[in-house]
Symmetry: C2
Subunit: 207 residues, 2 copies
DNA sequence: TTCTATCTCACGCAATATGGGGGAAAAGAT
DNA sequence: ATCTTTTCCCCCATATTGCGTGAGATAGAA
């Protein structure tokens, strides 16, 4: 069984070295090369084609998100793991959208790092507890929604870009009823257009 | 330190019993009661207020998704874990939306079950490898999008319910240019309205 | 170099959608 | 008995939409 090829993109030399030591000490992975920035890694990515790239988010030059986008574009089979201290949800989601398959925090210990890499090769998605919870919560619908269930249904259709007429057809109600619901939604959410309503719905997880 | 109160909702008697044994054998959790269906559990939920509910998806009467919705409504602090054989993404996402905080598969072993419960109490979100990967992939943007980057920007704004005018203002282009982009998007996606474009965008993960 | 894709902008047109205002009736919950 | 929810109706002025057609500039690919 072959060892999986790993690259590390990390600007802090000490971290780069310790990750390298840890990974090279494992029986399933080896570090083929480390890079202090995204540009130098991307330049070689089509030739190196690593199985896994561990990417820091705070990088000189292009940031980690952008680096992952380019890695996935040039070498789609390379699985990217974000390694960072940041745990704010915006950054997490941007990273995942860019194509990251996992997300571990920098102070992870030896075992956590190796098991994350193993998780990746098994087709999993390693995430720290907080990250996993963040991702899950992103799915949860706000239980304190001010909207009635019918209004929520209507709001969902608004978020799908449906017109008054389309909404009324899908819910088997008259166009005027759809309009009524929408008016009430606007009042409750304190907005006065579809796009504002969608904004609120997304931000407050109303749908 | 108090043991956390767990309830089990599972129609198969053997599984119910073996989960109960496993959990009662742990030092941090105890099973206060088990239920063969959702209705009987929900009837008592406001009084029992368990810390954790393990819920099967295939239940006689109301299904697990609906059961979770009602549990979270009546006892929001109860953390729900879905326990099932199903692993199709639609069901996973419905469960998460309904308020589940974790998702484990039925053939999980002793350790996996206990560590899932511990993960939950730590504020994490236990998921099997496949589930985690599924959730992560849900974030990934299709790299084979037929749209140009500008068109993708426009499509995002369409999905936010923005009008031609609003889009042109946000992108600092003329209204006519926005219209041009939208026309091209429609041709490429083979649709002819905003709502259809949003449908495609969501289904094909174009945004 | 030629061709293609992309991004930008323009005008006209008919049909539809939108947001605001008003009102009302029935069912159910609290 | 009041409030909420759900259903439905009218009027109105303005904005939006989708379609057709056309075109200039730039940049990259064949």
């Amino acid at each position: 069984m072959f060892k999986k090829k790993v690259i590390i993109i990390e600007d802090q030399e000490d971290l780069r070295d310790s990750f390298e030591l840890i990974i090279n000490g494992s029986s399933s992975f080896f570090v083929s090369k480390t890079y202090p920035d995204g540009e130098s890694a991307i330049k070689e990515i089509t030739k190196s084609k690593p199985d896994i790239a561990m990417v820091d988010l705070e990088l000189p030059g292009i940031n980690g998100i952008e680096a992952i986008s380019q890695i996935k574009e040039k070498s789609p089979k390379t699985e990217c793991v974000i390694v960072t201290v940041y745990e704010d949800s915006e950054l997490v989601f941007k990273g995942l959208k860019a194509g990251a398959s996992g997300y571990i925090i920098k102070n992870a210990n030896y075992l956590e790092i190796i098991s994350a890499l193993e998780e990746i090769t098994k087709g999993g998605a390693p995430m720290s507890s907080q990250i996993a919870r963040m991702v899950i919560q992103n799915f949860h619908v706000n239980p304190n929604s001010p909207l009635s269930s019918r209004e929520t249904e209507v709001l969902k259709l608004i978020a799908e870009g449906k017109s008054y007429t389309q909404i009324s057809e899908e819910l088997f109600i008259s166009k005027e009823t759809a309009r009524s619901h929408i008016k009430n939604i606007y009042v409750k959410l304190n907005v006065n257009s579809k796009s504002e309503a969608i904004d609120r719905a997304r931000k407050d997880h109303l749908i």
